[in-house]
Amino acid sequence: MNKQKLKTLREKIPSDRIGLLIALIVMIAVFSFFNKHFFSYKNMINILIAASLTGLVAVGETYLVIAGLVDLSAGSVAAFGSVLAAVVLSSTGNVFVTVLIVVLAGILIGIFNAVTVNSLKLEPFIATLASMSIVRGLAYIICNGKPVFITNNSFLKLGSQRIFGIPVPVIILIISFIIFGIILSKTRFGRSIYVVGGNKEAARLAGLNPKRITLILYMVNGALAALGGALLAARMNSGQPAASVGLEFDAITAAVLGGTAFSGGVGTIFGTVLGVFILQGFNTGLIMLNVPTFWQYVARGLLLLIALTFDFLRKRRRDKKILESSMANS
């Protein structure tokens, strides 16, 4: 019996995410059966737009969770970003400067998060729970709690303009998926995220700098959330301090649904993309099927459990197959 061969076989059995892909397809099929408009170009675009903020943050959270970290402040940062965009815009009138300042602010908050985790050695969960509260407060403070209107048309276009029929926020989302997907899977930096999450000590001893990586990841997530907030403001024509409560949980859920593990060291952007679309598609589908509000809560919880269970069973079956073939071979 050649164990080595079998192990190679195990590695090669394709992509971990087939189960989810099937789940996505099944979901689309079911919803389309009940409502023929579900699988329309229009609706797909709707789903993409609705997912555009969660998707951006899900990318950042995927990075963080793979590295064994988490950022609970993302929803607050998005709200802060949306208000800041409106405020800066009204005083500068310059779209570029506005987006720049908003993204910088997001990065600053990311740095703050990283410092609490790196230097004060606080648990990421609790450190970012603290900044979640602080940043939400700041979002209210800079606008005195009142939504700030945006009249600048070129800024509003960021939210509504279409290029080849695709709205700008969706284009930004897709580009982010691609760029961050490539960085994660094909660059040294990307791979070092797995190392830090898989074994922080090993990472450090191998000459990587986990603190630096932590810093960068929080900066990235801060930037993405703030940028997402600015785009939200553009889409809704106003900056709203109370927006996006719980965004981080939606984003993390998408990442985990896509195969990212809380224990760290495991996950892909492709999986997260699937997770984002399954969740948003499901939400949209439930509304289209006119499922009663309260049952939607139940349905969403069940979806999560079922999708993850399905994934678990599929993996187990695959392992069993490998085992059986190895027993047959020997």
Binding site: E11, K186, T187, G207
Partner: protein, 500 residues
């Protein structure tokens, strides 16, 4: 070019411990300098200072005339210092190749990782080592021995001046050790500074040119290996002559009834394994890496699923579905992988020791009797000479060997009917080993059945009454104590054709 590494007056304190005390000596390139010393003597600490992981409380070290003050391992790696750590530092969910080239993956012009080259380069190193490992395999899925070899390849793949091995052979079998020694000889020819830490005298005999002896954090001496005998070295590190440890053991020759009988045991990893163990008997298990010894024991212990076959304890069939049940019935297993299966890292030394015997120190309603627990823990610490400032110290802050002693102490405290030890002496120093052997013999004399798995053949041979040899999940031979030689055992371990 000749490189010189000089330690000068290095002192290192930890809370409650002076790990190194004014240590000074020199290492030259082109020779293998061995570190020898009891568990907790400060060997690993010195290596961690060497690579910038720890900063010395005082003192410095000098590489080629230049004092170094590395603030992180990265700085040391950049200067050509490479260490294989005592505790495996491997990333389980990425590939072998990526572990080897951790942080140094080859990149293409566009900045992206050149995966083709990565796998080729990894394959080249793996071939150079003469191993059969798939560079694309997830490290989680390869054997522990191979994981250890990946660690070695990782250090080796770097551009280096100094390479230090901290007990690299603890989870290797002889064939990998041979490979390792070849590599070390090659590094020696390439004029590297090589530091080698091990408790195995046999290895030092073969590989070391010079030996530095430590005791209680102090530098004792630096000697040429050929100028001294093993006994000289042991006397230097332990403070007394241990004599011939195996011959001096008080062995009972009379066994009692059969206590454990295993009949045609088959699991996912092993097939058709049958053997029996008697009261008072020490039964050794030998075999190469991947022979399946660990898996047999895990199945008996209820840690792995049994597909078919019978396990009888005192003539009653036992079918333990969990370690808990096995322990209740009197079968215990001290697992081979201290880090993943043994220590409870966040907990104190005391909690680590008492965990398997809490039943003996609670009252009827489940309250732990503190006094009893303290007595038990103190006894274990004294019996095993575990070096710790107090019982509340977190176990991860102990030296590797002392952690191992605590885990072995945990299992011996259970006083079972059948005691299974999987690589129990991993990383334990010679003096402590001698004490440990005596304890095992006492256990057997009191009627316990003992199963000993060890990759150190002299240990298996010296201690066992009977030795079973395995290969590829099957038993391939059995040797009685009187007729046991390394050659005979190896012959069974590498038996061709007859398996199945």
């Amino acid at each position: 070019m000749k490189d010189i590494l000089e330690f000068s007056g290095i002192t290192k304190y930890f809370p409650g411990v002076k790990a190194l005390d004014n240590v000074s000596f020199k290492a030259n390139s082109g020779e293998v300098l061995a570190f020898l010393g009891e568990n907790g003597a400060g060997k690993s600490t010195l290596l961690k200072i060497l690579n910038g992981d720890f900063q010395p409380t005082s003192g410095k070290y000098i590489l080629n005339g230049e004092a170094k003050h590395f603030k992180s391992p990265k700085e040391a790696i950049d200067e050509g210092i490479s260490i294989i750590y005592q505790e495996r530092q491997i990333v389980l969910d990425i590939s072998v190749a990526e572990n080897i080239f951790l942080g140094q993956q080859p990149i293409k012009k566009n900045g992206l990782i050149d995966y083709k080259k990565l796998y080729q380069d990894a394959k080249k190193i793996i071939d150079e080592f003469g191993l059969n490992i798939d560079p694309r395999a997830k490290v989680r899925n390869i054997s522990i021995a191979h994981q250890q070899m990946v660690e070695i390849m990782k250090a080796y793949s770097r551009d280096l001046k100094v390479i230090a091995f901290d007990e690299p052979t603890a989870s290797l079998s002889d064939s990998e050790i041979e490979i390792l020694f070849e590599i070390i000889n090659k590094l020696k020819k390439e004029n590297k500074i090589i530091i080698y830490v091990s408790h195995r005298m046999k290895e030092l005999e073969r590989i070391a040119d010079k030996v530095v002896v430590f005791k209680d954090g102090k530098f004792v001496d630096l000697v040429k290996r050929n100028d001294v005998t093993n006994n000289d070295l042991i006397t230097m590190m332990v403070g007394r002559d241990l004599g011939d440890i195996f011959n001096e053991l008080d062995r009972s020759k009379s066994y009692g009834d059969t206590i454990l009988e295993v009949n045609k045991l088959t699991t996912n990893d092993v097939s058709d394994v049958s053997f029996s163990l008697r009261e008072g008997e020490i039964l050794g298990f030998a075999g190469l890496v991947g022979a399946g010894r660990t898996e047999v024991m895990r199945a008996i212990f209820g840690a792995d699923k049994v597909n078919s076959g019978k396990i009888m304890l005192e003539n009653k069939e036992v079918n333990s579905k969990s370690p808990k049940q096995a322990i209740k019935k009197g079968i215990v297993l001290c697992p081979e992988d201290r880090k993943l299966q043994g220590i409870l890292p966040n907990l104190s030394v005391g909690y680590n020791i008492s965990i398997a015997v809490l039943d003996n120190i609670i009252n009827k309603i489940g309250f732990i009797n503190n006094k009893k627990e303290n007595v038990l823990v103190k006894d274990s610490i004294n019996t095993f000479n575990i070096k710790t400032p107090n019982a509340t110290k977190k176990i991860v802050e102990l030296s590797g060997g002392n952690q191992q002693k605590a885990i072995v102490a945990r299992w011996l405290a259970t006083n079972p009917k059948v005691l299974i030890l999987d690589e129990p002496t991993k990383g334990i120093d010679v003096g402590a080993k001698a004490e440990f052997y005596k304890l095992i013999c006492d256990c057997a004399k009191n009627g316990m059945g003992v199963i000993l798995i060890s990759s150190e053949l002299p240990e298996v041979i010296g201690l066992s009454d009977r030795i079973i040899v395995m290969k590829d999940g099957y038993i391939t031979g059995e040797v009685m104590r009187e007729e046991a030689t390394e050659e005979k055992i190896l012959a069974y371990a590498m038996l061709e054709g007859e398996v199945n």
